[in-house]
Structures are given as C-alpha cells and as structure tokens.
Symmetry: C2
Subunit: 243 residues, 2 copies
C-alpha cells in the first residue's frame, strides 16, 4: 500500500520522525505537502484533514499519515504503528510496549528542545523572547540534555539483547527517533553536544549504526532529506549554545 504523509514542507520537524521509519521500512509513500496541488498535494490538502473536510478522524496538527481508511496522528503513535507493521520494532509484548514509551519520551524531549527558543509560547517570535530563551536554554543544556541522553545511554547499556540498540536485537523506530534527536541537538547545540559526547559512547555508536544502515544512508544523501533550519524545532542560535 502507498502511505500519504502530511507535514510542513520546509522543515524536518516532527514529520521526520515518521519519514525515517517509512524510509527505513522501504515503504511506498508520498510526501503530500511537498507535492504540487495538481497531484493532490500542497499544504491546502493538509488543512482539509485538519479542518474536517476529510472525515471525522481530525488530526490536531501535522504530522499525520493516511493509510487507506486510517488517519494516524502524533509522531510517536505513527512511528510505533509503522515500526510494528514493518519489522522496525522489537519482538514480544514487553519490549514492544517499552519501545512505545521510549518514542513518547523522545517526543517530550523534542518539545523541550523546541521550548528553548520559545519559552514564552509560540505566539511570540524568538526575537521577542531572546532573554527568556537564554535562561531556558541554560537549564536545558545543564540538566535536561544530560538527563535524557543519560537515560538513553543507560537503556543501551542495560539492553539484555546486546548493546547495539535501545530495546531488542535489531534497529527499531525508537532508535530512529533517538538518531534524529541527536542530529537535531548536534545542529542546535554543537558545543554542548561536543562536551557531552564522551559520556554517551553507546548512544554515539548507535547513531552511527543508524546512519550507516543501508536504506537510511541512501535516504540521508537524497534530496528527500530536509536540512535543519531556523524555522524548525531544532534551531542553531549560537547564543543559546554553550559547552
């Protein structure tokens, strides 16, 4: 089947957490908002779902994925659905449920990364909350980044199936989410990631493993992969970074 992914066309954002699973699965999909309106794409097509013109399963926000009669929303829910369907999830109920919790926690981490540049909310520009952003980013770098990244490191270290992945004995959507988050943090906070790198060797190795997996390596060098930029979740504002 062909999946239709809907997400903002100019940023990786939360859509990338879905796109990576589609790519790693070798799934057939269309990136709808990046298609022309003549092909049924564009952001107007995206808003038809959000505004209720395409049925009762209203997504609150992009990303969402249309799969036949299904309309899935919320990146960690979509990633789990795809991962479990396409062999990118661990085996067994306990590990499957654990992978879902990891993906949900990653979504929380991503939201906190976003809030470093918008601590007063999304109704104000970054330029109107720079001083507050500096304070929020300070706590994020000092406490939240080590806490989240240290947790992932502990998971790989404790994984009874070996120390290659977060859970189970093969790459899962949870690993793809960690990879994307680490990439985003490296873009937004290069100095802090440099200083933390030594404390998370298993996470660093896992991310290299993801990046060099065949389908992901091909994808990352394609024009389907969107670059991080200052309209997205992970933004490089040097004044918010620090070792």
């Amino acid at each position: 089947m062909t999946y239709d992914l809907y997400y903002w066309p100019s940023i990786p954002g939360r859509g990338e957490y879905v796109r990576l699973v589609l790519e790693a699965a070798g799934a057939d999909y269309r990136d709808m908002a990046r298609l022309d309106a003549a092909d049924g794409g564009g952001t107007a097509a995206m808003f038809e779902f959000i505004e209720g013109q395409r049925g009762a399963l209203l997504p609150f926000a992009p990303p969402f994925l249309v799969a036949g009669e299904l309309v899935l929303s919320q990146a960690p829910v979509i990633a789990a659905f795809l991962g479990e369907r396409h062999g990118l999830a661990p085996d067994g109920e306990a590990d499957r449920l654990f992978a879902r919790a990891i993906a949900a926690t990653t979504a929380d981490f991503v939201a906190e990364a976003h809030d470093t540049h918008h601590p007063l909310g999304v109704s104000l520009y970054y330029e109107d909350q720079k001083a507050q952003a500096a304070r929020r980013a300070e706590g994020f770098r000092a406490e939240r980044m080590p806490k989240f990244l240290g947790w992932y490191e502990a998971l790989v270290a404790a994984n009874p199936a070996g120390h290659n992945w977060l859970v189970g004995n093969r790459m899962s959507y949870a690993d793809l989410g960690l990879f994307q988050t680490v990439e985003g943090l490296r873009y937004a906070f290069p100095r802090r990631m440099q200083s933390l790198s030594e404390s998370i060797p298993l996470v660093e190795a896992l991310c290299k493993r993801v990046a060099s997996s065949k389908r992901i390596a091909t994808y990352l060098s394609s024009d389907r992969r969107l670059a991080f930029n200052e309209d997205g979740i992970f933004r490089h504002y040097p004044e918010l970074d620090g070792a």
Copy 2:
C-alpha cells in the same frame, strides 16, 4: 491480575491519567508510592525501577505501571494499554489508533498547562519566574486553551457513533483524559474556563457523563482521589488566570 501503579504520592499529576483508567475498569491495583515501605511501597521503591535495580525496562519518569513482566511508562501509553485491555477503548483499528493520538495530544496539552507556571524550566521555582509565567499563561489562555478545547469539541461533534464521546460509542481512556484535563483547567484557570464554557457544550456534557459514570463517581468521592494542589501540574495561581 494486580497492577502496581507508581507515581508521586501527593499530587494527581500525570499519574491520575492512569489511575482513572484503572478505576473505570474496576481493576485490582496498588498505588505503590502511597503504601508503606513495609508493604513494598514508598517513593524509594519507585526509584528502584528508575535507577535500574529492577530490570532493564527503565522508566524515564513516573508514572509507570508494573503488570507481571511488563513495565509500562508514559501516561498515554499506559492508558491506551489498559483501555484496550479492559473495554475502555473504541472498537476497530482506525478508532483505536485515533484514541491513541487523542491521548498523546492530551499529554501535550497537559505539558503546556504545566509550562504556564514554569516557562523558564523546572530548575527554577515559580516564584523566580512569575513575570515570565504571566506572559506564557496569557498566550495559553488566549490561544492554546481555545485551540485544544475547540478540537475536542469538534471531535465529539464529528463522531459518527454519536455525540457522547470523543471516539466510538462508549467511554474510553481518551474521554477519561479529557475529563481530568478539564478538571485541572477548571482548578487552575477558573475564570478562563468560565468564559470558554459556552463554546464547548459537548465537552462539558461529556465531562459530566464521565463524572457520573458509576465507578468514576464512586472513585471521585473516595480518599483514593487526590486533590489538585500547588505542587502539581495544574496549579491555581490567580495571577495567571483571567477571563
């Protein structure tokens, strides 16, 4: 089977999103951190899981639920698991996945409600970020509350199974989560909830339906139900409220 719920003993917080599903299911459960250490409870028992002394499935944070060999974490993941297992989820794959997305969106809404009193992060006290909290709360009241609450209202209005619930034709964990969130908002932002009330009649009716359902009504009048307070997620700081 007996479930063991672990959450901070003195606030409803995110634990309540799990507790309500357990109560509505009539499930047998122990509220571990509220038990004495002599009975295997207390917060020390909770930290044993988080610190890795109880196996490889490390929760990032409470709440988490131990169910035999399973250790589930992240409130929306736990609520979905319990709801689907105990008849508090809709039927059919499309609606089941939609309920998961609703619960994940509610978790996002709850996180935003929390950030109204901690916009600069959790490493500072509210008293040290009151001015910034006032600005964040202003945007939350003006834009985010109507957006989220309006979305729930639209879901009930669009529900093809009738206009009683968010999804499907019976109460689900998604409805329980909305109920708890509306209760929390009413506690934290009574003036704003009063002014929004007329615009969300279906949500108001749904919440009354939840509160008067047999098991939930019994639970709400029991001492198992914890009151909202100013250590929790939903805090009543009158200076952050406004019509």
